[in-house]
Protein backbone atom coordinates (compact mmCIF):
# COMPACT_ATOMS: atom_id res chain seq x y z
CA UNK A 1 0.00 0.00 0.00
CA UNK A 2 1.63 3.32 -0.99
CA UNK A 3 2.05 5.82 1.80
CA UNK A 4 3.00 9.46 2.04
CA UNK A 5 4.69 11.03 5.06
CA UNK A 6 2.66 13.41 7.22
CA UNK A 7 5.26 16.05 6.52
CA UNK A 8 8.28 16.09 4.17
CA UNK A 9 10.61 18.06 6.43
CA UNK A 10 13.44 15.79 7.54
CA UNK A 11 15.76 17.22 10.13
CA UNK A 12 14.13 17.54 13.58
CA UNK A 13 15.17 21.21 13.72
CA UNK A 14 13.77 22.15 10.32
CA UNK A 15 11.18 24.91 10.61
CA UNK A 16 7.60 23.86 9.87
CA UNK A 17 5.86 27.04 10.98
CA UNK A 18 6.35 30.54 12.33
CA UNK A 19 4.04 31.55 15.12
CA UNK A 20 4.30 35.15 16.36
CA UNK A 21 8.01 35.29 15.61
CA UNK A 22 8.75 31.89 17.13
CA UNK A 23 10.07 29.09 14.90
CA UNK A 24 8.25 25.78 15.27
CA UNK A 25 10.58 22.89 14.51
CA UNK A 26 9.61 19.61 12.91
CA UNK A 27 10.07 17.86 16.25
CA UNK A 28 7.87 20.36 18.09
CA UNK A 29 5.19 19.96 15.38
CA UNK A 30 5.27 16.15 15.62
CA UNK A 31 5.11 16.38 19.41
CA UNK A 32 2.15 18.75 19.31
CA UNK A 33 0.36 16.47 16.84
CA UNK A 34 0.83 13.44 19.11
CA UNK A 35 -0.13 15.48 22.19
CA UNK A 36 -3.38 16.65 20.59
CA UNK A 37 -4.14 13.21 19.10
CA UNK A 38 -3.98 11.75 22.62
CA UNK A 39 -6.75 14.03 23.90
CA UNK A 40 -9.10 14.02 20.89
CA UNK A 41 -12.66 12.86 21.61
CA UNK A 42 -13.74 9.44 20.34
CA UNK A 43 -15.79 10.82 17.42
CA UNK A 44 -14.53 10.04 13.93
CA UNK A 45 -15.14 13.49 12.39
CA UNK A 46 -13.51 16.80 13.28
CA UNK A 47 -14.79 20.28 12.49
CA UNK A 48 -11.57 22.28 12.73
CA UNK A 49 -12.38 25.93 13.44
CA UNK A 50 -8.92 26.96 14.68
CA UNK A 51 -8.18 30.44 13.40
CA UNK A 52 -4.43 30.24 14.05
CA UNK A 53 -3.05 28.47 10.98
CA UNK A 54 -0.52 26.49 12.99
CA UNK A 55 -3.23 25.28 15.39
CA UNK A 56 -5.35 24.32 12.39
CA UNK A 57 -2.44 22.36 10.91
CA UNK A 58 -1.79 20.48 14.15
CA UNK A 59 -5.54 19.76 14.35
CA UNK A 60 -5.62 18.45 10.78
CA UNK A 61 -2.50 16.31 11.29
CA UNK A 62 -3.69 14.93 14.63
CA UNK A 63 -6.97 13.89 12.99
CA UNK A 64 -5.05 12.19 10.17
CA UNK A 65 -2.75 10.22 12.49
CA UNK A 66 -5.82 9.16 14.52
CA UNK A 67 -7.72 7.98 11.45
CA UNK A 68 -10.31 10.74 11.85
CA UNK A 69 -11.74 12.79 9.00
CA UNK A 70 -11.73 16.59 8.95
CA UNK A 71 -15.01 18.13 7.83
CA UNK A 72 -14.68 21.43 5.99
CA UNK A 73 -18.03 23.08 5.22
CA UNK A 74 -18.20 26.22 3.06
CA UNK A 75 -19.62 28.33 5.87
CA UNK A 76 -20.54 28.08 9.52
CA UNK A 77 -24.19 28.89 10.10
CA UNK A 78 -26.57 27.20 12.58
CA UNK A 79 -28.11 25.43 9.60
CA UNK A 80 -24.75 24.02 8.38
CA UNK A 81 -23.89 22.82 11.89
CA UNK A 82 -27.21 20.99 12.03
CA UNK A 83 -26.51 19.48 8.60
CA UNK A 84 -22.99 18.41 9.63
CA UNK A 85 -24.44 16.61 12.63
CA UNK A 86 -26.96 14.92 10.38
CA UNK A 87 -24.07 13.91 8.10
CA UNK A 88 -22.00 12.46 10.94
CA UNK A 89 -23.48 12.29 14.42
CA UNK A 90 -20.03 11.87 16.02
CA UNK A 91 -18.63 15.19 14.75
CA UNK A 92 -16.78 17.30 17.33
CA UNK A 93 -15.35 20.78 17.03
CA UNK A 94 -11.73 21.80 17.60
CA UNK A 95 -11.32 25.54 18.19
CA UNK A 96 -8.83 27.99 19.62
CA UNK A 97 -10.89 31.00 20.66
CA UNK A 98 -14.00 31.81 22.62
CA UNK A 99 -16.05 31.39 19.45
CA UNK A 100 -16.45 27.66 19.00
CA UNK A 101 -19.60 25.95 17.82
CA UNK A 102 -21.61 25.56 21.02
CA UNK A 103 -24.02 23.17 19.30
CA UNK A 104 -21.29 20.52 18.98
CA UNK A 105 -19.07 18.65 21.39
CA UNK A 106 -16.09 21.01 21.69
CA UNK A 107 -12.40 20.70 22.36
CA UNK A 108 -10.28 23.76 22.89
CA UNK A 109 -6.75 23.63 21.45
CA UNK A 110 -4.65 22.64 24.48
CA UNK A 111 -1.65 24.39 25.96
CA UNK A 112 1.27 22.43 24.53
CA UNK A 113 4.61 21.45 26.11
CA UNK A 114 7.45 23.85 25.22
CA UNK A 115 9.49 21.11 23.56
CA UNK A 116 9.86 17.35 23.33
CA UNK A 117 13.14 15.75 24.42
CA UNK A 118 13.03 12.63 22.25
CA UNK A 119 13.34 12.77 18.47
CA UNK A 120 9.96 11.80 17.09
CA UNK A 121 9.25 9.74 14.02
CA UNK A 122 7.36 11.07 11.05
CA UNK A 123 4.10 9.12 10.63
CA UNK A 124 3.56 7.49 7.25
CA UNK A 125 -0.04 7.73 6.11
CA UNK A 126 -1.77 5.30 3.77
CA UNK A 127 -2.52 7.20 0.57
CA UNK A 128 -6.04 5.72 0.43
CA UNK A 129 -6.95 6.97 3.90
CA UNK A 130 -9.86 9.42 3.84
CA UNK A 131 -8.36 12.64 5.23
CA UNK A 132 -10.97 15.33 4.68
CA UNK A 133 -14.44 15.93 3.38
CA UNK A 134 -15.09 19.32 1.85
CA UNK A 135 -18.62 20.45 1.22
CA UNK A 136 -20.27 22.59 -1.41
CA UNK A 137 -23.80 23.91 -1.18
CA UNK A 138 -26.06 21.47 -3.00
CA UNK A 139 -28.94 22.67 -5.15
CA UNK A 140 -31.48 21.01 -2.83
CA UNK A 141 -30.07 22.87 0.17
CA UNK A 142 -28.18 19.90 1.61
CA UNK A 143 -24.39 20.33 1.40
CA UNK A 144 -22.68 17.94 -1.01
CA UNK A 145 -19.72 16.02 0.42
CA UNK A 146 -16.45 15.78 -1.55
CA UNK A 147 -14.19 13.23 0.13
CA UNK A 148 -10.42 13.66 -0.26
CA UNK A 149 -7.99 10.85 0.33
CA UNK A 150 -4.61 11.66 1.83
CA UNK A 151 -2.99 10.59 -1.45
CA UNK A 152 -5.06 12.90 -3.60
CA UNK A 153 -4.31 15.90 -1.36
CA UNK A 154 -0.60 15.15 -1.32
CA UNK A 155 -0.33 14.51 -5.05
CA UNK A 156 -2.18 17.74 -5.69
CA UNK A 157 0.08 20.00 -3.65
CA UNK A 158 3.23 18.25 -4.86
CA UNK A 159 2.16 18.93 -8.44
CA UNK A 160 1.51 22.52 -7.38
CA UNK A 161 4.96 22.88 -5.81
CA UNK A 162 6.55 21.52 -8.95
CA UNK A 163 4.57 23.84 -11.20
CA UNK A 164 5.41 26.87 -9.09
CA UNK A 165 9.08 26.02 -8.81
CA UNK A 166 8.76 25.50 -5.06
CA UNK A 167 10.30 22.04 -4.91
CA UNK A 168 13.80 22.25 -3.54
CA UNK A 169 15.80 25.42 -3.17
CA UNK A 170 15.49 27.65 -0.14
CA UNK A 171 12.73 27.05 2.40
CA UNK A 172 10.08 29.70 1.88
CA UNK A 173 7.69 31.14 4.41
CA UNK A 174 4.11 30.99 3.20
CA UNK A 175 1.87 33.83 4.38
CA UNK A 176 -1.86 33.52 3.66
CA UNK A 177 -4.71 36.01 3.76
CA UNK A 178 -7.21 33.18 3.26
CA UNK A 179 -8.51 30.84 5.96
CA UNK A 180 -7.17 27.26 5.96
CA UNK A 181 -10.69 25.85 6.15
CA UNK A 182 -11.44 26.03 2.42
CA UNK A 183 -9.85 24.06 -0.41
CA UNK A 184 -7.56 26.86 -1.61
CA UNK A 185 -6.28 27.80 1.84
CA UNK A 186 -5.97 24.16 2.88
CA UNK A 187 -3.83 23.34 -0.14
CA UNK A 188 -1.83 26.50 -0.64
CA UNK A 189 -1.24 27.70 2.92
CA UNK A 190 -1.04 24.42 4.86
CA UNK A 191 -0.41 21.31 2.75
CA UNK A 192 1.91 23.07 0.29
CA UNK A 193 4.16 24.00 3.22
CA UNK A 194 3.98 20.60 4.92
CA UNK A 195 4.55 18.66 1.70
CA UNK A 196 7.39 20.62 0.13
CA UNK A 197 9.60 21.51 3.06
CA UNK A 198 8.44 25.10 3.53
CA UNK A 199 7.25 26.93 6.64
CA UNK A 200 3.77 28.30 7.12
CA UNK A 201 3.04 31.55 8.90
CA UNK A 202 0.42 30.97 11.57
CA UNK A 203 -1.10 34.41 11.03
CA UNK A 204 -4.37 35.07 9.29
CA UNK A 205 -4.09 38.82 8.67
CA UNK A 206 -7.06 40.73 7.35
CA UNK A 207 -6.46 44.49 7.15
CA UNK A 208 -3.84 45.65 4.63
CA UNK A 209 -1.53 46.96 7.40
CA UNK A 210 -1.80 43.61 9.20
CA UNK A 211 -1.02 41.74 5.98
CA UNK A 212 2.12 43.86 5.50
CA UNK A 213 3.19 43.23 9.12
CA UNK A 214 2.64 39.49 8.75
CA UNK A 215 4.77 39.43 5.60
CA UNK A 216 7.50 41.51 7.26
CA UNK A 217 7.54 39.20 10.27
CA UNK A 218 8.04 36.16 8.03
CA UNK A 219 11.61 35.16 7.15
CA UNK A 220 12.52 35.56 3.47
CA UNK A 221 12.01 34.27 0.85
CA UNK A 222 8.24 34.60 1.17
CA UNK A 223 5.22 33.48 -0.79
CA UNK A 224 1.98 35.44 -0.37
CA UNK A 225 -1.23 33.41 -0.84
CA UNK A 226 -4.17 35.73 -1.41
CA UNK A 227 -7.30 36.59 -3.38
CA UNK A 228 -8.33 39.38 -5.78
CA UNK A 229 -10.33 41.09 -3.01
CA UNK A 230 -7.38 41.19 -0.61
CA UNK A 231 -4.84 42.11 -3.28
CA UNK A 232 -7.01 44.98 -4.43
CA UNK A 233 -7.37 46.34 -0.90
CA UNK A 234 -3.60 45.97 -0.39
CA UNK A 235 -2.90 48.00 -3.53
CA UNK A 236 -5.30 50.75 -2.56
CA UNK A 237 -3.99 51.07 0.98
CA UNK A 238 -0.91 53.07 -0.07
CA UNK A 239 1.48 51.10 2.12
CA UNK A 240 5.07 50.08 1.49
CA UNK A 241 4.99 46.47 0.38
CA UNK A 242 7.50 44.12 1.96
CA UNK A 243 9.48 41.93 -0.44
CA UNK A 244 7.91 38.68 -1.59
CA UNK A 245 9.23 36.13 -4.05
CA UNK A 246 5.86 35.16 -5.48
CA UNK A 247 2.18 35.93 -5.09
CA UNK A 248 -0.56 33.36 -5.55
CA UNK A 249 -4.16 34.30 -6.20
CA UNK A 250 -7.27 32.18 -6.53
CA UNK A 251 -11.05 32.21 -5.91
CA UNK A 252 -11.83 34.44 -8.90
CA UNK A 253 -9.91 35.48 -12.02
CA UNK A 254 -7.96 38.72 -11.74
CA UNK A 255 -8.22 41.28 -14.48
CA UNK A 256 -5.00 41.67 -16.45
CA UNK A 257 -4.90 45.26 -15.22
CA UNK A 258 -5.02 44.39 -11.52
CA UNK A 259 -2.52 41.57 -12.06
CA UNK A 260 -0.11 44.01 -13.68
CA UNK A 261 -0.53 46.53 -10.85
CA UNK A 262 0.13 43.82 -8.26
CA UNK A 263 3.28 42.63 -10.03
CA UNK A 264 4.58 46.17 -10.34
CA UNK A 265 3.92 47.04 -6.71
CA UNK A 266 5.49 43.84 -5.33
CA UNK A 267 8.08 43.50 -8.06
CA UNK A 268 7.31 39.78 -8.07
CA UNK A 269 5.43 37.36 -10.32
CA UNK A 270 1.74 36.80 -9.66
CA UNK A 271 0.44 33.34 -10.43
CA UNK A 272 -3.19 32.39 -10.46
CA UNK A 273 -4.54 29.02 -9.52
CA UNK A 274 -7.69 27.55 -11.01
CA UNK A 275 -9.52 24.81 -9.22
CA UNK A 276 -12.63 23.87 -7.35
CA UNK A 277 -13.63 22.11 -4.18
CA UNK A 278 -14.47 19.01 -6.24
CA UNK A 279 -11.18 18.83 -8.14
CA UNK A 280 -8.67 20.71 -6.04
CA UNK A 281 -6.37 22.88 -8.09
CA UNK A 282 -5.97 21.84 -11.69
CA UNK A 283 -4.29 24.70 -13.58
CA UNK A 284 -2.21 27.84 -13.25
CA UNK A 285 -1.43 30.91 -15.33
CA UNK A 286 0.54 34.11 -15.07
CA UNK A 287 -2.08 36.63 -16.21
CA UNK A 288 0.44 39.32 -17.14
CA UNK A 289 1.87 36.94 -19.72
CA UNK A 290 -1.08 34.95 -21.01
CA UNK A 291 -4.82 34.56 -20.52
CA UNK A 292 -4.40 30.82 -21.08
CA UNK A 293 -4.45 28.38 -18.18
CA UNK A 294 -2.07 25.46 -18.20
CA UNK A 295 -3.34 22.16 -16.74
CA UNK A 296 -1.32 20.24 -14.18
CA UNK A 297 0.49 17.24 -15.67
CA UNK A 298 -1.67 14.13 -16.00
CA UNK A 299 -5.00 16.00 -15.99
CA UNK A 300 -7.49 15.92 -18.83
CA UNK A 301 -10.50 18.01 -19.75
CA UNK A 302 -13.37 16.28 -21.53
CA UNK A 303 -16.54 17.91 -22.78
CA UNK A 304 -19.87 16.23 -22.02
CA UNK A 305 -22.69 18.32 -23.41
CA UNK A 306 -22.38 21.84 -22.00
CA UNK A 307 -20.08 20.93 -19.15
CA UNK A 308 -16.37 20.30 -19.09
CA UNK A 309 -15.13 17.47 -16.86
CA UNK A 310 -11.72 17.15 -15.26
CA UNK A 311 -10.09 13.79 -14.63
CA UNK A 312 -6.68 12.18 -14.24
CA UNK A 313 -3.75 13.14 -12.04
CA UNK A 314 -4.82 13.65 -8.44
CA UNK A 315 -8.51 13.91 -9.42
CA UNK A 316 -9.77 10.50 -8.25
CA UNK A 317 -13.39 10.98 -9.27
CA UNK A 318 -13.99 12.82 -12.54
CA UNK A 319 -15.73 16.09 -11.72
CA UNK A 320 -17.72 18.62 -13.74
CA UNK A 321 -16.28 22.13 -13.73
CA UNK A 322 -18.43 25.13 -12.96
CA UNK A 323 -17.12 27.44 -15.64
CA UNK A 324 -17.56 27.84 -19.34
CA UNK A 325 -14.27 26.54 -20.73
CA UNK A 326 -12.70 26.70 -24.17
CA UNK A 327 -9.76 24.37 -24.68
CA UNK A 328 -7.04 25.81 -26.87
CA UNK A 329 -4.56 22.92 -26.88
CA UNK A 330 -4.37 19.54 -25.10
CA UNK A 331 -3.35 21.09 -21.84
CA UNK A 332 -4.35 24.74 -22.16
CA UNK A 333 -7.68 26.50 -21.91
CA UNK A 334 -9.50 29.81 -21.52
CA UNK A 335 -12.17 30.63 -18.97
CA UNK A 336 -15.33 32.38 -20.12
CA UNK A 337 -17.28 32.96 -16.91
CA UNK A 338 -19.43 30.71 -14.81
CA UNK A 339 -22.27 28.38 -15.75
CA UNK A 340 -25.58 30.25 -15.54
CA UNK A 341 -26.89 28.94 -12.22
CA UNK A 342 -23.67 29.37 -10.29
CA UNK A 343 -22.71 32.23 -8.05
CA UNK A 344 -19.23 33.08 -6.80
CA UNK A 345 -18.91 36.08 -4.51
CA UNK A 346 -15.40 36.79 -3.32
CA UNK A 347 -14.55 33.13 -3.50
CA UNK A 348 -17.68 31.86 -1.76
CA UNK A 349 -19.58 29.62 -4.09
CA UNK A 350 -23.22 28.73 -4.26
CA UNK A 351 -25.92 28.32 -6.86
CA UNK A 352 -29.09 30.28 -7.47
CA UNK A 353 -31.09 27.07 -7.09
CA UNK A 354 -29.53 26.39 -3.69
CA UNK A 355 -30.09 29.96 -2.49
CA UNK A 356 -33.66 29.94 -3.81
CA UNK A 357 -34.27 26.70 -1.98
CA UNK A 358 -33.09 28.23 1.30
CA UNK A 359 -35.13 31.39 0.78
CA UNK A 360 -38.31 29.48 0.03
CA UNK A 361 -37.81 27.15 2.99
CA UNK A 362 -38.28 30.04 5.43
CA UNK A 363 -41.73 29.90 7.08
CA UNK A 364 -43.77 32.87 5.85
CA UNK A 365 -42.08 33.06 2.43
CA UNK A 366 -44.71 32.31 -0.22
CA UNK A 367 -42.41 32.77 -3.17
CA UNK A 368 -38.97 34.19 -3.67
CA UNK A 369 -36.04 34.30 -6.07
CA UNK A 370 -32.44 35.50 -6.06
CA UNK A 371 -31.04 37.47 -8.95
CA UNK A 372 -27.39 37.90 -9.89
CA UNK A 373 -26.79 41.15 -11.77
CA UNK A 374 -24.29 41.19 -14.62
CA UNK A 375 -20.82 41.69 -13.22
CA UNK A 376 -19.46 45.00 -14.42
CA UNK A 377 -15.83 44.30 -13.57
CA UNK A 378 -13.72 41.39 -12.34
CA UNK A 379 -12.24 43.47 -9.59
CA UNK A 380 -15.45 44.79 -8.06
CA UNK A 381 -17.57 42.52 -5.91
CA UNK A 382 -21.09 42.26 -7.35
CA UNK A 383 -23.86 41.39 -4.90
CA UNK A 384 -27.04 39.40 -5.27
CA UNK A 385 -30.53 40.85 -5.22
CA UNK A 386 -33.72 39.03 -4.33
CA UNK A 387 -37.48 39.45 -4.67
CA UNK A 388 -39.75 37.89 -2.15
CA UNK A 389 -43.46 37.47 -1.52
CA UNK A 390 -43.79 37.32 2.26
CA UNK A 391 -46.67 39.45 3.49
CA UNK A 392 -46.39 38.40 7.14
CA UNK A 393 -42.63 38.81 7.52
CA UNK A 394 -40.70 41.96 8.34
CA UNK A 395 -37.51 42.73 6.44
CA UNK A 396 -35.51 42.22 9.64
CA UNK A 397 -37.08 38.85 10.43
CA UNK A 398 -36.51 37.59 6.90
CA UNK A 399 -32.87 38.69 6.82
CA UNK A 400 -32.30 37.12 10.24
CA UNK A 401 -33.82 33.84 9.01
CA UNK A 402 -31.67 33.90 5.86
CA UNK A 403 -28.56 34.61 7.89
CA UNK A 404 -29.08 31.32 9.74
CA UNK A 405 -29.17 29.46 6.45
CA UNK A 406 -26.73 31.05 4.02
CA UNK A 407 -23.33 32.66 4.14
CA UNK A 408 -23.63 36.43 4.72
CA UNK A 409 -21.91 37.26 1.41
CA UNK A 410 -25.03 35.93 -0.33
CA UNK A 411 -27.49 38.09 1.61
CA UNK A 412 -29.46 40.04 -1.00
CA UNK A 413 -28.92 43.75 -1.57
CA UNK A 414 -31.49 44.90 -2.20
CA UNK A 415 -34.16 42.58 -0.89
CA UNK A 416 -37.45 43.60 -2.47
CA UNK A 417 -40.85 42.77 -1.02
CA UNK A 418 -43.34 42.32 -3.84
CA UNK A 419 -46.93 41.08 -4.12
CA UNK A 420 -46.09 38.51 -6.80
CA UNK A 421 -43.08 37.36 -8.84
CA UNK A 422 -43.33 37.86 -12.61
CA UNK A 423 -43.74 34.17 -13.37
CA UNK A 424 -44.93 33.16 -16.83
CA UNK A 425 -47.85 30.86 -17.58
CA UNK A 426 -45.74 27.74 -17.03
CA UNK A 427 -44.59 28.98 -13.63
CA UNK A 428 -41.08 29.75 -14.86
CA UNK A 429 -39.41 32.95 -13.82
CA UNK A 430 -37.62 34.52 -16.81
CA UNK A 431 -34.37 36.16 -15.77
CA UNK A 432 -35.23 39.22 -17.85
CA UNK A 433 -38.56 39.74 -16.01
CA UNK A 434 -36.78 39.52 -12.67
CA UNK A 435 -34.15 41.98 -13.84
CA UNK A 436 -36.82 44.49 -14.93
CA UNK A 437 -38.63 44.16 -11.62
CA UNK A 438 -35.48 44.81 -9.62
CA UNK A 439 -34.16 47.64 -11.77
CA UNK A 440 -37.50 49.43 -11.87
CA UNK A 441 -37.87 49.26 -8.14
CA UNK A 442 -34.34 50.65 -7.75
CA UNK A 443 -35.29 53.62 -9.89
CA UNK A 444 -38.49 54.19 -7.91
CA UNK A 445 -36.64 53.99 -4.60
CA UNK A 446 -34.06 56.57 -5.58
CA UNK A 447 -36.73 58.83 -7.11
CA UNK A 448 -39.11 58.77 -4.16
CA UNK A 449 -36.49 59.19 -1.45
CA UNK A 450 -38.06 56.26 0.35
CA UNK A 451 -35.93 55.11 3.26
CA UNK A 452 -36.62 51.42 2.41
Amino acid sequence: MPTFPLVTHQSPDQVVAWQQGVAISLNKFLGDVAHLAAVLPAGGHMLNLCSDRYHFSVGLASAIVSGKISLLPPTITPETLRQLQAFSADVFCLHDSDHGAAELHQLRYPVMPQSYPATLEIPQIDSQQPAAILFTSGSSGTPLPHPKSWGSLVRNVRAQAERLGLLGGAARTIVGTVPPQHMYGLESTVLLALQSGHALSSAHPFYPADICSAIEAAPMPRVLVSTPVHLKSLLEAELDMPAVEMILSATAPLSAQLAKAVEMRFNAPLLEIYGSTETGQIATRRPTQTPEWQLFPGLRLTRQGERMWASGGHVEIAAALNDVIETTTDNRFLLHGRMADLVNIAGKRSSLSSLNHQLNAIPGVLDGAFYMPEETSHDHVTRLSACVVAPVLSRQALIAALRKRIDPVFLPRPLLFVTALPRNSTGKLPREALRMLIENSRLETSASDHPA
Binding site: H99, H204, Y207, E236, A346
Partner: protein, 96 residues
Protein backbone atom coordinates in the same frame (compact mmCIF):
# COMPACT_ATOMS: atom_id res chain seq x y z
CA UNK B 1 -13.68 69.55 33.65
CA UNK B 2 -17.30 68.77 32.95
CA UNK B 3 -17.13 71.13 29.98
CA UNK B 4 -14.22 69.12 28.62
CA UNK B 5 -16.13 65.90 28.86
CA UNK B 6 -19.18 67.28 27.12
CA UNK B 7 -17.10 68.79 24.32
CA UNK B 8 -15.30 65.45 23.81
CA UNK B 9 -18.65 63.70 23.66
CA UNK B 10 -19.86 66.29 21.19
CA UNK B 11 -16.83 65.74 18.97
CA UNK B 12 -17.29 62.01 19.12
CA UNK B 13 -20.94 62.33 18.21
CA UNK B 14 -20.01 64.46 15.21
CA UNK B 15 -17.26 62.03 14.23
CA UNK B 16 -19.64 59.10 14.69
CA UNK B 17 -22.18 60.64 12.34
CA UNK B 18 -19.44 61.45 9.84
CA UNK B 19 -18.23 57.83 9.87
CA UNK B 20 -21.80 56.56 9.54
CA UNK B 21 -22.20 58.80 6.50
CA UNK B 22 -18.97 57.45 4.99
CA UNK B 23 -20.26 53.91 5.43
CA UNK B 24 -23.68 54.60 3.95
CA UNK B 25 -22.04 56.27 0.97
CA UNK B 26 -19.30 53.71 0.39
CA UNK B 27 -21.61 50.72 0.61
CA UNK B 28 -24.84 52.19 -0.78
CA UNK B 29 -26.60 51.09 2.37
CA UNK B 30 -30.37 51.20 2.45
CA UNK B 31 -30.41 53.14 5.73
CA UNK B 32 -29.59 56.74 6.53
CA UNK B 33 -26.55 57.60 8.63
CA UNK B 34 -28.67 58.84 11.54
CA UNK B 35 -30.48 55.51 11.73
CA UNK B 36 -27.31 53.60 12.61
CA UNK B 37 -27.29 53.36 16.40
CA UNK B 38 -23.95 53.69 18.13
CA UNK B 39 -24.17 50.26 19.76
CA UNK B 40 -25.59 48.32 16.80
CA UNK B 41 -23.15 45.61 15.68
CA UNK B 42 -21.87 46.57 12.23
CA UNK B 43 -20.56 43.11 11.44
CA UNK B 44 -22.91 40.14 11.18
CA UNK B 45 -26.35 40.64 12.69
CA UNK B 46 -27.31 44.27 13.17
CA UNK B 47 -26.21 46.29 10.17
CA UNK B 48 -25.23 43.05 8.47
CA UNK B 49 -21.85 43.94 6.99
CA UNK B 50 -19.51 41.15 5.94
CA UNK B 51 -15.77 41.01 5.60
CA UNK B 52 -15.80 42.42 2.05
CA UNK B 53 -17.70 45.48 3.30
CA UNK B 54 -15.31 45.84 6.19
CA UNK B 55 -12.28 45.93 3.88
CA UNK B 56 -14.10 48.56 1.83
CA UNK B 57 -14.86 50.74 4.85
CA UNK B 58 -11.39 50.19 6.29
CA UNK B 59 -10.04 51.69 3.08
CA UNK B 60 -12.38 54.69 3.05
CA UNK B 61 -11.75 55.39 6.73
CA UNK B 62 -7.98 55.04 6.38
CA UNK B 63 -7.90 57.53 3.50
CA UNK B 64 -10.19 60.04 5.18
CA UNK B 65 -8.48 60.01 8.59
CA UNK B 66 -4.92 59.07 7.65
CA UNK B 67 -4.69 55.87 9.66
CA UNK B 68 -4.27 52.16 9.03
CA UNK B 69 -6.67 49.78 10.68
CA UNK B 70 -5.14 46.88 12.51
CA UNK B 71 -6.91 44.03 14.23
CA UNK B 72 -6.75 45.00 17.91
CA UNK B 73 -7.47 41.48 19.09
CA UNK B 74 -7.53 37.91 17.81
CA UNK B 75 -10.87 38.74 16.30
CA UNK B 76 -10.20 40.59 13.04
CA UNK B 77 -13.61 42.24 13.07
CA UNK B 78 -13.64 43.44 16.67
CA UNK B 79 -13.20 47.11 15.65
CA UNK B 80 -16.48 46.77 13.78
CA UNK B 81 -18.40 45.36 16.75
CA UNK B 82 -20.23 48.71 16.93
CA UNK B 83 -20.22 52.17 15.42
CA UNK B 84 -19.10 53.49 18.81
CA UNK B 85 -16.13 51.13 18.86
CA UNK B 86 -15.12 52.10 15.33
CA UNK B 87 -15.49 55.80 16.19
CA UNK B 88 -13.31 55.43 19.29
CA UNK B 89 -10.69 53.62 17.24
CA UNK B 90 -10.66 56.35 14.61
CA UNK B 91 -10.59 59.14 17.25
CA UNK B 92 -7.54 57.52 18.85
CA UNK B 93 -5.60 56.71 15.67
CA UNK B 94 -6.44 59.55 13.30
CA UNK B 95 -3.70 61.76 11.93
CA UNK B 96 -5.98 64.05 9.94
Amino acid sequence: MSQNISSTTGNDAALQLEIAELMVQALNLEVSATEIQSDTPLYGSGLGLDSIDILEIALVVSKRYGLQLRADSENNHHIFSSLRNLTEYVAKQRTR
